[in-house]
Symmetry: C2
Subunit: 215 residues, 2 copies
């Protein structure tokens, strides 16, 4: 069949998401996808290249959309600084939506995205470099939206925000301390709104407002 390649991608996506990169063996993928031993090395030439393919398949279009969304909101602002919420939405919404709707991938890729966001070193820098131009654009927009925040503080806020976003993508916890509400059955648009609200407030929060206290 000609969809062998796709079946490998789908299965790899699922297993990488579930067990991580080094936690998933090519043989596990081969077995679950019910393809031939050599197929993986035929279509992709290595395990690493397979991960890249899995990753870029969904990431590249989402990044495209992010840029468009950012440009659109910057144009709408005219010469003024863009609204913080808009910048954050431009970054978060395309990836999140993409990770929700595609008939097949859905939750699975979201899980994988969370893992990759969080680990940061699972992808070789070559792939990460595909993100840098986009991230740089967002860094500028953020700086304009938050002109009073010094750069090194902004760095940390972005850092925290990336972590929160990654977790939003993952949507699973083993700690059943609140009894309910997994990503599986939750309204993803509502989650998005909550995430944007959370991030915006966090980014704006003045650090100096934290009162001094005794240890």
């Amino acid at each position: 069949m000609t969809d062998t390649r796709e079946r490998i991608l789908d299965t790899a996506e699922r297993l990488f998401a579930a067990h991580g990169y080094s936690g998933t063996s090519l043989r596990a993928i081969i077995t679950e996808a019910e393809v031939n031993q050599a197929a993986v090395h035929y279509y992709f030439r290595s395990k690493e290249a397979l991960l890249e393919a899995v990753f870029l398949r969904r990431t590249e279009p989402a990044n495209q959309e992010r840029m468009e969304m950012l440009e659109r909101c910057e144009r709408a602002a005219g010469g003024n600084a863009p609204e913080l919420e808009d910048v954050i939405e431009a970054f978060v919404v395309p990836a999140f939506r993409a990770a929700c709707d595609p008939g097949k991938g859905g939750l699975v890729f979201r899980e994988l995205m969370g893992r990759l966001y969080a680990e940061g070193d699972m992808l070789p820098r070559i792939v990460a470099s595909k993100f840098v131009p986009m991230l740089a654009r967002f860094a500028v927009a953020l700086t304009r939206a938050l002109p009073d925040v010094p750069q090194d503080e902004l760095f940390w806020k972005v850092h925290f925000a990336m972590g929160a976003t990654a977790q939003a993508f993952r949507g699973k916890t083993d700690w059943q301390v609140f009894d309910r509400a997994r990503l599986d059955n939750a309204d993803s648009e509502l989650i998005l709104r909550r995430l944007v609200a959370f991030l915006s407030a966090g980014m704006r929060a003045p650090v100096t407002a934290v009162r001094e206290r005794e240890k």
Copy 2:
């Protein structure tokens, strides 16, 4: 020598932090620690048990401190609801400080903590279960500190907050879009203040305040 055990723990901590659990082989640990092949299986009985030991060595005391700090701030509040910032600090500060100061572990364990927080499934649930009682206590305190936030919304906010905290622990990014400021050379108390400010604001942010907008 009698510090063989400790040397294994230290090395394992470092390598798990750098490459993840399945990305680290026992042989790599054995080699770097310069101990004998069989030593790991003698002191710990499996790779998994070794990870648990690495994890609990620093985690158990920190969790103890978290509980104490929470109780202290609840007592200070008398019958009233505890202050949000205090609850967050009680959760974040002990682990973060512990991960900063111990002469040896320092940055390394922080990196590992970030990884484990983010992955969530690297530790077997048996170990995770050691956390549940503490987390449940914090869930109650949070609910009291934020009485107007419905439970399922609170669940998500905690979810986001855990992600941001995990990222704060990791403190490394490959995306050099802001040119500077790594965890390595940053003032950790300042990071803590920033994190607490970020989380508090995010937790308090009313979701309904996010204005409607066209996609």
